[in-house]
Symmetry: C2
């Protein structure tokens, strides 16, 4: 695979100030793989679903070019289900319910054809499951890993073991603060970079993202949007597009990482424009390129930044 | 004047999680003029102080090249005084006290020598005082204006009259939301640009700033800092440096405005590194240029943003 997404499949129920969904396709593996497919191929997933996972969701993923040979379907379980409600300020949400269901039994098996993937995304899962997946890889590709507050608080040792094996951690600002006890992004980043990953991406939602590698920093603002409908999956979409961009690069140096952060931001900005993964599904690669060109324009400094009369 | 700052002089008392100050020099006119002086000269202020305003504060401003011929000292009043306490998250603060004192009597008089200033900054003051200042200007320079939640809520009509007369409004994101009832920066900006100003800057604190002019947007992240000691005056410093940069430009077009936003961000990043205006006082123009070059590096996209293998 060019990109392998290890993550969750979910049936999501989402309420926003504007509307609410039926049970829709969700989960980190969904967002990561759909986002990666906008930039590269082939893309596969290792994930688990239950007996109630609709065939239509599978067909949708397949139709978008996602390889499902790493998908396990447990016949005696339902699919992981999550419900959330966003506030008027869509940066704030309440979890309405979390039913682990099949996810509680997830014992990932990486198919032979996936074991030499160029970029592996470990979506937000228990560090034990992430480690089990890592152990099945042959040649080491580039390992990008997500996590969340629950694992930082409850399984810190298992998480440390994973951090020691990855190339790049991608988390949000609150998670970086929680992991380090700092309330400053640079100080947090310095601490995290001592824990194993060579590279750290801190995602700041609408405020953009920061890349840290050794002593170097690259910072991008968020792509300005006049319509934000549902932030679900934005971070996973960032991860998937980041991975998809890196998978195209012959060498993963600073410029390649910058490009990956830019594509991550760009693709995540599509994700939030509609409910669930549907804007990712409906976006064409050419639209990603067009938005990324516009993103460049919106952030581009004058040729000389020194004021003229100085 | 190259830049005229109309604003407050204050005696500030500031508590942070780390320490607290004695009564220190503060006020929007202080920060605006010190920041502007890092980029241009001459810079003057129209402001009011009371009988207790220390001679040492006046001498400090004069020593940094700020012209005080527009300063009124009321012999029967004390100086405007403000106290604030910042939380562990320094983006959150409580006001401990506000004593208007001399500010309640402020009837600004713009000296003749100031009436043709190239860039005029209307610092955060009542819209009536801002309007009284505007009415005393001869040739119209570039008018940049700040305001705050209190005036938006309590004197909306007077504020509208001021907005109709200015070139550029600079406010923070919460103020933009409050002014428009929107909770999206682009939608807020579109509404504000119908109210008079041709140009809008939305300041987002550590998250950077956005420039809106007609249909064009320029967005910069915040300059990443590993030490934030006291955010007091950051917005005023942004305004002062923005004005100082513009005052050097032969033409105020998009690139000149971008440069002004960049210098505003850069100088504001110095301000927050120490209590009150002391980091502005201790910063040399060459350090501003150096930080601005570094800021460029931290935000610079690769020559080609398109992923290599695409």
């Amino acid at each position: 695979m060019s990109v392998l997404a290890v993550g969750t499949l979910a049936l999501d129920y989402i309420e926003t100030p504007w509307d609410k969904t039926d049970e829709i396709l969700g989960g980190s593996a969904t967002y990561i793989s759909l986002a990666a497919r906008l930039l590269t191929e082939p893309v596969g997933m290792v994930a688990v679903a239950g007996r109630d996972f609709p065939e239509a969701h599978k067909q949708l993923l397949i139709s978008k070019g996602v390889d499902l040979s790493g998908l396990q379907v447990l016949s005696d379980q339902d699919t992981f289900a999550w419900g959330g409600r966003y506030h008027d300020n869509v940066n704030v949400r309440d979890t309405l319910f979390t039913h682990l269901n099949a996810l509680a039994e997830f014992d990932p098996v990486v198919p032979d054809a996936y074991r030499n993937s160029k970029v592996v995304c470990l979506g937000n899962l228990s560090p034990d499951i992430q480690a089990t997946s890592l152990n099945q890889l042959n040649a080491r590709g580039f390992i990008a890993c997500d996590t969340m507050n629950y694992w930082i608080a409850n399984t810190p040792e298992a998480l440390r073991d994973v951090l020691a094996q990855i190339d790049c951690l991608l988390i949000n600002d609150e998670e970086a603060y929680q992991m380090t006890g700092e309330h400053n992004l640079i100080l947090s980043a310095r601490k995290i970079l001592t824990l194993g990953p060579r590279i750290l991406i801190i995602k700041k939602g609408e405020h953009g993202a920061m890349l840290f590698i050794e002593e170097q920093i690259f910072t991008v603002p968020g792509f300005p949007l006049d319509k934000v409908r549902d932030p679900t999956g934005a971070g996973d979409s960032f991860l998937g597009a980041f991975a998809g961009s890196l998978a195209c690069e012959p060498n993963i140096g600073l410029d390649a990482l910058k490009r990956a952060v830019i594509y991550g931001s760009s693709v995540a900005s599509f994700c939030v424009e509609a409910h669930g993964p549907f804007q990712l599904v409906n976006t064409l690669p050419a639209a990603v390129e067009e938005r990324t060109r516009l993103f460049r324009e919106l952030t581009e400094w004058p040729v000389s930044h020194e004021r003229r009369g100085a």
